[in-house]
Each structure stands twice: as C-alpha cells, then as structure tokens.
Point group: C2
Chain length 255, copies 2
C-alpha cells in the first residue's frame, strides 16, 4: 500500500517542488513506483516533470470539484519511467475558491485519493503551494506523513512553528495518522556562519526528526526542470543526485 | 505626495521582502521618508525590520477589518531613521478570510491608505504574500506602481505572465492608475548559463521595463534581517548595498 506524503511549507521558495520531483526521481531509482501530485496552481511540479499544461483538458482542479472526474483519469506518465504525475493548472486557484463553501471542504482530496490509485504506487508525493490555505490542509488530511523543507535562512526558520501548529490541529481534528516524517534543511551552505547557525537552530526546534541528509545549493537543481526530468536522470553522477538518493533511503526507512 | 508601490510575485522566495526592506533602506539613504507596509501573514518584513511581532496589540489585520482602527495608529518606527513600518502578524490570514465576503473587499486597503498617511512619506512600499489572492489584489488596487522581483530561474519565469494578466485585470476594473514600474531580476549569477539565459528571456517577455539594476546572490542579504536593518545599514560599503542604491535611483527617476 502506497505511502502518501505531503511536502509543505508556507514559506515561499524553500525547495518544496524541487524536493517532490527529485525525491520522486530518487525513490524510482531505488525501485519504487511513485505518483507526484501537484496541488499548487503555479503548476511548477507539472512543468518540472515535462508536462505541457497548456494542452491538458482535465487536471487536479476538476478532480477536487467534480464528482465525476476521478484522480486516475488525470494521471499521466512523465518522461521518467515509473514516475507518474497528477498535474495542476492555474484553474486550481478557482477550484480552491469554489471549495471554500463546500461541505467537508478539507476532505475533497482524501475522498478522491482512494485505494485504486494508492495501491498502484509505493509513494504518492503531494507538492503544496506556499500558503497555509485550503489546498495545503487538503494535502495534510489526505497524507500519512509530511516532509517540511526549510531553507537554512532567517525568515524560513521563523515560519516553521506556525506550520507545526497547523499540523497538530489537523492531527487533532481531521487526520490522527498524520505525522512529521522529517524536516529537510535546504539551500545549505556550510561555508557561511549564517548557514551553520540556522542549521543548528533547526535541530533545536523541537522533538521532530531532522533528516541527516542536507540539500546544498547546486546549480544543476535549477537546470534539471528545463529538461523536464529529476536530477537522477538529468545528471545521475552529480552530488545533488547523490543527496536525493540518500534522502530517498532515509524516507524509505522512516515511512 | 507619496508614491505607493506594491512589490508582488506569486512565486515564492524570489526576494519580495528583501526588495521591500532594502529598496526602502536605499531610498532613505537618498533622503526620502519611507513607509514599509507588511501585507503578508508570514510577517517577514516586520521581523526583518526588527519589530517584535509577539508584542503587537494591533497590526494591519485590524486596519483591514475594523473601521475604527486607522493605518496611522499601527505605524511604528524601525531601527532605521525615516524608515517606518506598518506591521503584520499571523492574524492577517484570518483577516483575509473575513474580507472574502465583505462588500468592496478589494478596496479595503485603499480606503485606509488615505492622504493623511501618504503625504507623510515619499514612498509607501507594500510587501505582498506569495499568492494572487485577496491581499495581493488589495495591494494592486491601493498602489500606483508595482515592482515584480523575478528570480533568474526556470519556474520563476513561468509565473510572470499570470501576474501580468492579473495586473491588466486590476487596471481595467479597479485601478486605472496602476502601472508596472519594472521587473527586477534577482538571485542573478552571471557565471551560469542558466542565469544568463533566464535574464535574456526576462528581457524578451514583453514591453515592460526591466530594471538595469540586477540583484545578485549575496550572503549578506540573508544576514541583514537577523540584525533587523536594511543592507544599507548592515553593511553600507557592500556590493549588495550599492545595488539597492542603484535601484533606488532608478525607481526615483521612474516613479
Ligand atoms: N538546493 C537547490 N539548489 C539550487 N537551486 C535550487 C535548490 N532547490 C531549489 N532550487 C531552485 O530554487 C527555486 C525555488 O525552489 P522551488 O521552486 O522548488 O521552491 P518551492 O518551495 O517549491 O517554491 P514555491 O514556494 O514558489 O512553491 C527554483 O527555481 C529551483 O529550481
Ligand atoms: N539577492 C539575494 N541574495 C542572497 N539571499 C537572498 C537574496 N534575496 C533574498 N535572499 C534570501 O532568500 C530568502 C528568500 O527571500 P525573500 O524572503 O525576500 O523572498 P520572498 O519573495 O519575500 O519570499 P516569500 O514568497 O516567502 O514571501 C530569504 O531568506 C532572504 O534573506
Ligand atoms: Mg513549489
Ligand atoms: Mg516575503
């Protein structure tokens, strides 16, 4: 049975999409079958996996607001074998507004993420937008775990407490199975005092697991999306690819 | 009469807050009086200007939803002379939800940003959250100009068209005075092919002004917020400070 993991942080630009795509790519290298589900109207995950979102007739927005549209019907294969994508478009913004007044609005994704899809994959990774709104709540309700990428920067650390508070509220009211798989330090630069200080603060935040794997800043991680593939395909021998393989092993052991 | 400029981009982590604080600091160095207004529930601008947001009785959230609370009543001075702040807290998330069903919900900020505040400043800079929601729309309706920071990265370029479309809609329906002051390339690294290619694509995007000033990646820009001051105070002789002074001259000439 596939493990559903949300990748969330309301702070923008911390590497959520980069984590979803490249952890997905690395899990595939370890033999897993993975579905990457795009829950951000920016649709960076879909674009980063090489999907032409201008040609999509249906996307995750339809699945959330239209009972007749199943999740399975919008899943597409990506350029990478065993790595599928449930794509998003900008329509997801309007779907979020429509969901606002729906009954059971926080369960819209969970209702559609049924056995018949989950059992086809070892992991379902959900990429979240940079807000704590209804889309992120839907991801946390549908998931069993959440990975929190946090830039080793001052502003990024400030926001983690608010996210952990929301996770606790979702656990208490909507999804008791939800747990924090780990906090992932990103954009780490060990040469700077700021980087080292922020990494230490991250580890002192509380009793949550902080991954041993630390994602440094690598130019290739910014290049791979232009080719529509994860780093494990773009440059398998790179340090960046090795780091995500290490992360994939940690996640497999923990999940 | 003060110029009101929104700093907006729904893509996360592109340097909106960094631009608001450091452009503000640089304008002050050129002799201007500046108000930085925080319209992001993450409150990074408020924190980056050294405001202790845990001790605030009132913030921008109260101004938006309570007729009795004026903008002037929440303005505080920062550690930097002639650079004031209208702070935010996490309460702004709840205020955005409350605004959703209010009559004239897009004009809530414009109504409160009256003459008596604007005429005390040469510039009012509004920091926006990483979404195209109601808070960003309020900023675009209240402003005469918008500055769009764009990372010279693949995903960041993809989102600019959607933002420019929203700007056109706001101009047509709610604020005919609004115009794009300029697109600001950020995190630029001229040593990489990706950086140079993305900068070229940015310039080809359309007939909008792209600032001559380009903000490169400087560690000190990540350090300055820990001291609660703009880069012009944190390290006045740094390349980062010089770049923002150059930007301030461009903005003063254009505004
Ligand atoms: N470790 C890294 N090294 C270098 N570049 C990176 C790294 N991680 C992400 N990037 C690049 O930085 C930018 C921000 O990352 P990404 O878009 O994954 O963050 P995000 O949290 O998903 O952003 P958003 O909040 O907008 O959804 C992207 O252009 C990405 O290619
Ligand atoms: N040119 C730069 N060089 C180095 N670090 C930078 C630069 N600009 C911003 N930063 C750092 O990168 C991070 C992201 O920048 P910032 O928070 O200003 O972006 P933002 O667009 O306001 O993010 P959000 O979408 O979350 O509001 C911050 O930690 C900031 O200190
Ligand atoms: Mg993303
Ligand atoms: Mg910001």
């Amino acid at each position: 049975m596939g493990k559903v993991i949300a990748i969330a942080n309301q702070k923008g630009g911390v590497g959520k999409t980069t984590c979803a795509i490249n952890l997905g790519g690395a899990l595939v290298e370890l033999g897993a079958k993975v579905l990457c589900l795009d829950l951000d109207p920016q649709a960076n995950l879909s674009v980063g996996l090489g999907i032409d979102i201008t040609k999509l007739e249906r996307s995750i927005a339809d699945v959330l607001v239209d009972d007749d549209v199943s999740l399975a019907s919008i899943v597409r294969s990506s350029k990478t074998e065993r790595l599928d994508c449930a794509p998003a478009t900008i329509d997801l913004s309007a779907a979020e507004v429509e969901l606002f007044t729906a009954i059971g609005r926080e369960m819209a994704l969970k209702d559609k993420l049924g056995e018949e899809v989950i059992q086809r994959y070892d992991f379902v990774l959900i990429d979240c937008p940079p807000t704590l709104g209804l889309l992120t709540v839907n991801a946390l309700v549908a998931a069993q775990g959440v990975i929190i990428p946090v830039q080793t920067q001052y502003y990024a650390l400030k926001g983690v407490a608010a996210l952990l508070k929301m996770v606790r509220t979702v656990q208490a009211r909507l999804n008791p199975d939800l747990r924090v798989v780990g906090i992932l330090p990103t954009f780490y630069d060990s040469r700077t005092i700021l980087g080292r200080e922020m990494l230490d603060s991250l580890k002192d935040l509380g009793d949550h697991n902080v991954f041993h794997t630390v994602i440094r800043q690598w130019i290739k991680l910014g290049e791979a999306p232009t080719a529509g593939v994860p780093i494990t395909k773009y440059d398998a021998r790179s340090d960046a690819a090795k780091s995500f393989l290490e992360l994939a092993r940690e996640v497999t052991a923990l999940a």
